[in-house]
């Protein structure tokens, strides 16, 4: 499995430089060239690392990190980089990239910065190779043949690791949002309110409906106010789900009042042609509760004695 992964990444790495025509792979000489390359990169490591850190600062990448931190990370990345060139196994680098992403994503480091620094390192190393082998063009050519695919593979691994980490965080947050339960609250005898906040997708809409229907039954509600002030946007699927919720509640003998439709949502609903006849809507939550009280036969009036007392 590990071998497969390495192989796939390598193929992708080669695919990344379509302009270059690859010579027929000569494993023996490639390996020995890479060994030579690694020895060179190890020998000059301090100088190259400093050069790289300087270039990162120059390019104004990783602005969220201090220069000490950049240097520390650069050292670690450099060592990993050379190791991958030597062994061809990207597992350690993958783990490191994931770990690095985990540390720097919360600090607001963007994908282009991460890709940028890896490409800078690639550039710095390539330049040092040019400087070293400039006298022997043939050898330089073969060195680059060995270096380029490996470097591409490394850049790829780091970028993919970073993006995967981001996606993992996004998935985790989606899960967290989904788990935030939406309460069905009783305000008065037989009157429930269901405040909806955040993004509704069809799964959440379904969950909301189930909760509401169960709430209607257990609280013996006659009127339900669904407040969607906190909902930023609504698409056709969710709007239809809302209509279905209203109808299902009616089958249980409860009237639904929808409140807090924003102008944008109102426009969406009209544009997509939701059957509004079945929906009972009131401007805001206060109006909705007042309407519900009217339907239930409540009359709320201020207690005058209290109102007249000096505060």
């Amino acid at each position: 499995m590990g071998d497969q992964k390495v192989k796939r990444t390598e193929d992708r790495g080669r695919g990344d430089s379509p302009a270059r025509v690859m010579p027929p792979p000569d494993d023996e000489s490639t390996v020995s060239l890479l060994r030579e390359l690694v020895a060179h990169l190890r020998k000059d490591s301090t100088q190259l690392r400093e050069e790289w850190a300087r270039r990162i600062t120059e390019a104004k990448l990783l602005g969220a990190m201090t220069s000490d931190e950049i240097f520390a990370e650069a050292t670690a990345v450099y060592d990993n980089y050379v190791e991958v060139l030597e062994t061809g196994a990207v597992d350690a680098l993958q783990a490191y990239a994931r770990d690095l992403s985990e540390r720097i994503i919360p600090r607001g480091v963007e994908t282009d910065e991460v890709v940028g620094i890896v490409l800078l390192l690639r550039d710095v190393l390539a330049r040092s190779l040019f400087a070293k082998y400039q006298t022997d063009f043939q050898l330089l050519n073969r060195i680059l043949d060995a270096y380029e695919p490996a470097a591409n593979r490394i850049a790829n691994t780091v970028a993919v690791g970073f993006v995967q980490e981001r996606e993992r965080i996004i998935r985790q947050q989606q899960e967290a949002i989904r788990e935030l339960s939406t309460p069905v609250l009783q305000v008065r005898e037989r009157l429930l309110i269901l405040p909806i906040i955040g993004v509704i997708d069809s799964q959440r809409a379904r969950q909301l409906t189930e909760q509401l229907l169960r709430g209607i039954r257990t609280n013996r509600a006659k009127v339900v106010v669904i407040d969607i002030t906190g909902v930023a946007a609504m698409d056709a699927t969710v709007a239809n789900h809302l209509v279905q919720t209203v109808e299902a509640s009616r089958l249980l003998g409860a009237v639904v009042i929808v409140t807090g439709l924003s102008p944008e949502i109102a426009q969406t609903l009209v544009t997509i042609g939701v059957e509004l006849g079945k929906m009972n809507t009131v401007g805001d939550l206060q109006g909705g509760i007042e309407e519900a009280e009217r339907l239930l036969g409540y009359k709320v009036s201020p207690f005058t004695e209290v109102a007249q007392q000096p505060i």
Binding site: T209, E210, L213, R214, I216, R217, R220, K222, Q244, T245, E247, A248, S249, R250, L251, L252, G253, A254
Partner: protein
């Protein structure tokens, strides 16, 4: 399986005891339409609490039942639809258009009291 139809004052109460076949449903519809005239009932309650499925035939028959009894002078209210059943029904587009519904028998009786009183005072 026969559905017992009980007379309670001005109302008839059909309390479904078990899952019904299509034939049973048609029988129930015809029996209620006939008994509304016989007992001069003003309201009909059909209690579907025990049903855990409501297909298109059942909901159409209940709708027809409601319209038939209305033509014969009695309001019909369907009570006791389970939350899961209600959700499944709306997803299938079976919304019992124009038929009154209530949470349970008690709510249904209160609903009919309100509705028939309004009609008597108006007529």
């Amino acid at each position: 399986m026969e559905v017992p139809i009980l007379k309670q004052g001005l109302y008839l109460i059909a309390s479904i005891q078990a899952a019904l076949s299509d034939v049973d449903l048609v029988h129930l519809r015809d029996a209620l339409a006939e008994k509304v005239g016989k007992f001069r009932a003003r309201g009909v309650i059909v209690d579907v609490t025990v049903l855990d499925v409501m297909d298109s035939f059942a909901s159409r028959t209940l709708r027809d039942l409601a319209h038939m009894t209305r033509l014969r002078g009695a309001e019909t209210v369907i009570v006791g639809i389970q939350p899961e059943v209600a959700f499944a029904m709306v997803q299938l587009g079976l919304t019992l258009e124009g038929v009154d519904t209530a949470l349970d028998l008690e709510e249904g009786l209160a609903f009919l009291d309100k509705k028939t009183k309004r009609r008597t005072s108006r007529g």
